[in-house]
Amino acid sequence: MSLVAHPGLNASLATGGWGRAFTIATRFVFVLVGIAIAVQTLIVVEARPQDLITGVHGMADLIRRAMPPDFSKLPAAVWPTLQTVDIALFGTFVGIIIAVPLALLAAANMTPSRYAYYAARAIIGFTRAVPDLVWALLFVTAVGLGPFPGGLALGVHSVGMLGRLFAETIEQMDMAPIHALQLTGARRIQVFSHGIIPSILPALLGISLYRLDENIRSSLVLGFVGAGGIGFELLTAMNLFQYQEVSLLLIIIFVIVLGAERLSATLRERLA
């Protein structure tokens, strides 16, 4: 049997003999390992499917008590809603303001020195590696509980993603039109405003909108741990067993998250 010209996975299957036996054994091991990984998750998460089935009426009871949503609490929910959205907006603005200069340093084609490049990359990586919850705890120790540390935490954590993607956008920019403008005798600022900005601004805005969408979801979670806003209202209502208020708040959260996602996606499509 010829052994030539069968590249890829099935090459050894076609050869017969020991090669074939080995390949089959390898696949068998992969399947066993996959099953083993799945089974150990059941043990570690203490999965008890029977409890889920016998206890399902408890969930049904909770949902029944949450119906109908208490719309009389709607006016009172306006301010926390605004707070949640604004924590995210504030965080995104702070993130952009810090990320733009860092991205210029962290873009290989713009950076003034290799040290600045590595320093900027390290800062960007660090802000991303530390979760926003940890940043929030850190800022709480400085400025106390409330929306302000939440916004700061989102801002700093956003730098990680914004800085990296901004830098990549700048690195991928076509430099030919920039050089062309320089040679027309345009001033530096004019090259920046008429060459660089139009080339990269749509991409930067798109990235920022995407980040805003993520920050709104994070803002809800941060509310839970004390940043205020709709997340905090939800926690309070649950602790007080006000389930009809809980369901109203969940509807609001659903609308905010979905709205932010759609708005961000629509705007980004427009920019593309």
Partner: protein
Amino acid sequence: MLRVRGLSQRYPNGKLALTDFSLTVEAGELVVVLGGNGSGKTTLLRCVTRTVKPTAGEIWLGETNLCALEGESLRRARLELAMIWQHASLVGRSTVLANVASGALGRHSTLRTVLAGMPTSELESARGHLTEVGLADLAEQRAGTLSGGQAQRVAIARALAQRPRVILADEPVASLDPEAAEEIMRLLQRLAASERIAVLCVLHQVELAYTYADRVIGIRAGRLAFDLPRSDVSRETVHRLYLPEAA
């Protein structure tokens, strides 16, 4: 209009790219530079635009010696010197009109062009330049959507917006199909004559030089090989330009 005198360029690695090179391009004249790869054509253009500083020699643009200028005075001098490349080098996300008008940026203060704007008068003349290159109806389109030939004509319109006295073209038709290439060469020829612009054009297509050049300059190993009116250029002369060094 453009006079190059005794130009030499030695790169830091010691390679002598140009040796005692001189040429003149008069207003209204289209001069084609021919030469093999590495013969110094591109170095010549890079010196004239002062992207690099020549080791020796003078480059006179009208009454100004570009080699004596630096910084702000060099920027001002460059206004009269337009450049066209193999690729159009347009800002793809901006409109065709904005790209054309950007050629005039250097004539206006930073304040008048703030927030990516342009003075209205420049937009009007930019439309005029687009009409000159036959693309008036594409003014509002994004530059990134143009074909190669259209983009190159927009690049020429941007060069016109500079109101240059000299246009330098570095293989402006190298990436175009033959028909678009002829069109670009016709356009350069017409602009040279009608606008009294001195056009210096580096080409690889010898046939185009026979058709469109007023004068043909041969460059070989960084030295002037010949400088002749089109009618005096024989195929033999041009052929010798591309022979290996030893021949």
